[in-house]
């Protein structure tokens, strides 16, 4: 791993170089009252230091709706074709460490067994420049799930603000290419103590206990009545799943008329009542308590058992945007032992 540095001016010049370069540049911008990752053509559009985007980066790899097949009807025949897949080389600027770490989780899902070319083509064409957090937001709890405000997982390059400069950690080949194309702008990184930045940011995160190995305890509590007590409040919308950087459940539906149509892959959520409804009418998860339990178990038990990391990066979007304030961190603490009801 290469360590470099940039001062403010150097960063500005690097951004200009990237904008002039052949790649599409995507950065957080303000759109109305939302913060979203959007393509930019000038530095002025970039929104600095405003916490997280409303929609996570997964929007760029796995959009809310996307056709996976086009077809046309000719009598008894059907003509099928792959939809065009646009995946221009893209630099994503200033993804937060939580969002970047989420990419590793999505990679595991979409690359395992059968490779989802829709996701992977875009992913391979994407270079992620992460930006460490110096001011965690009140909802953040990345430290509870094995990450930190300066974590490097998922980023190709990670910038950490330190003493008026930026530490530039070059973490992958993709990141290296980006730096080497403008090597002259980068300085040496001596004297930059990342530990200090990490500690300072963590100190602001407030009381966040590491959740640790909750998978086993949650599995033991699978039949607990507490699930209903904590999940009663959930109204069964899809905001938490849709805004979550790691949630990836989807539906496949056909939309067509007499002439043809497409088969689309759409975001879906285990919170929806019909998510697991069988054609026979049987629903293995008939109440919101069952469904909320699935959300927690998937993130904190099943995914870690299958892949290793917790399927939660502690970004807190679910807390902030949940219309009724469901707090998954609190709920895991209650159910995995400790924490008042």
């Amino acid at each position: 791993m290469m360590r470099k540095a940039l001062d403010e001016e150097g960063l500005g010049q690097w951004l200009e170089a990237l904008l002039r370069g052949p790649r599409r540049v995507v950065a957080p911008v303000r759109e109305g009252d939302l913060v979203l990752f959007r393509p930019i053509t000038s530095r002025e559009e970039i929104l600095w230091d405003e916490g997280k985007s409303t929609l996570p980066l997964k929007e760029w790899l796995f959009p809310p709706t996307e056709p996976v097949l086009h077809y046309r009807f000719w009598g008894n025949e059907v003509e099928v074709e792959d939809p065009p897949l646009e995946a221009p080389e893209t630099v994503v600027l200033f993804a937060r460490p939580c969002d970047a770490a989420a990419l590793g989780i999505l990679d595991a899902v979409f690359a395992s067994d059968y490779e989802d070319a829709f996701y992977l083509t875009r992913r391979r064409a994407m270079t992620v420049v992460g930006l460490s957090c110096s001011r965690p937001q009140p909802e953040c709890f990345c430290a509870a799930v094995g990450l930190s405000p300066t974590a490097t997982q998922g980023s190709d390059i990670l910038l950490t603000p330190l003493d008026g400069r930026y530490l530039v950690e070059v973490l992958t080949e993709k990141g290296k290419r980006l730096v080497e194309e403008n090597a002259a702008l980068f300085q040496e990184a001596e004297g930059l103590d990342k530990e200090r930045a990490t500690a300072a940011a963590l100190a602001q995160m407030g009381e966040v206990e590491p959740l640790g190995e909750v998978s086993r305890r949650l599995s033991e509590r699978f039949e607990s009545e507490m699930w209903e007590v904590v999940a009663r409040k959930c109204v069964g919308c899809g905001v938490c799943a849709f805004l979550c950087p790691t949630c990836h459940c989807f539906d496949i539906v056909d939309e067509a008329n007499a002439f043809g149509g497409c088969r689309c892959k759409n975001w879906d959520a285990c919170a929806f009542a019909l998510f697991t409804l069988h054609a026979s009418g049987h629903n293995p998860r008939p109440t919101q308590a069952h469904r909320y339990r699935q959300r927690v178990m998937h993130k904190f038990a099943y995914f870690p058992e299958n892949f290793g990391p917790t399927m939660c990066v502690g970004c807190g979007r679910c807390l902030v945007h949940c219309p009724v304030g469901m707090d998954i961190y609190e709920i895991v603490r209650i159910l995995a032992g400790g924490g008042a009801a």
Partner: protein, 279 residues
Amino acid sequence: MKGGNIYRPYLMKVAEIRDETPDVRTLRLEFQDPQVASSFDWLPGQFGEYSVFGAGECVFTIANSPTRKGYIECSFKLMGKVTSALREVEVGGTVGFRGPYGNRFPLELMEGRNLYFVGGGIGMAALRGLLQFTLDQRDRFGEIFILNAARTVADIVYKQEMEEWAKVEGVTVVKTVDPGGETPDWDGKVGLAPNVFEELAPRPDGNIVITCGPPIMIRFMLQALDRLGFRPEQVVTTLENKMKCGLGKCGRCNIGRYYVCKDGPVFTAAQLAQLPNDF
């Protein structure tokens, strides 16, 4: 698409339509691409995503044995949007198929053993592929006993085929309907599948039971098998769960950490006992 499009189905022609009951139909499908037709292979127990373009995709076990190549079959019950659309497709029409997906029946457990097939209603379709396989490779297995159960006489699937099965040496076929489902000229048994099975008192002796049917039938079958002395490792079932992608990605069919589409749909009762009560 570079890397291949995992959501893209094979194009199939409907070669034959057979109505098993008023609401259960079997389709025989042939691959439109001759290269695929000659190379496509699968293992008994695997399933596919069958689709009607414009209506959607639906999961059915591949209902024929890989010993009978050149076509694949599915038997399905009229339930909703996609099955309605499937019933509109005529011979010569086009249907999509993605697969084979999932695990397979554990043939290694069954070698040399007596096999007891117990199918409830449309659940019989999930067993038919394996059943045909054991009949086609008859000398690999012991005695074969088939219990085909349904709610009423009209709902018994594979009526004609059952007679073919019974003709094979060492194969016993018993049919039963639920009490109240019999007709005056019914010559089969009357009783719920678990009860009929228990009455016939098969000996466990390391033999294997393969069963599929509505969840309630499975529940009572497992209890009956326990009373008869079958160990959970000797009982094999194939689970239905709401599935979408069939690829272990869309997050819908999981039971605990296992995806029914990837780690199943075939499970032994011993494996089922380890799963959380989420199905």
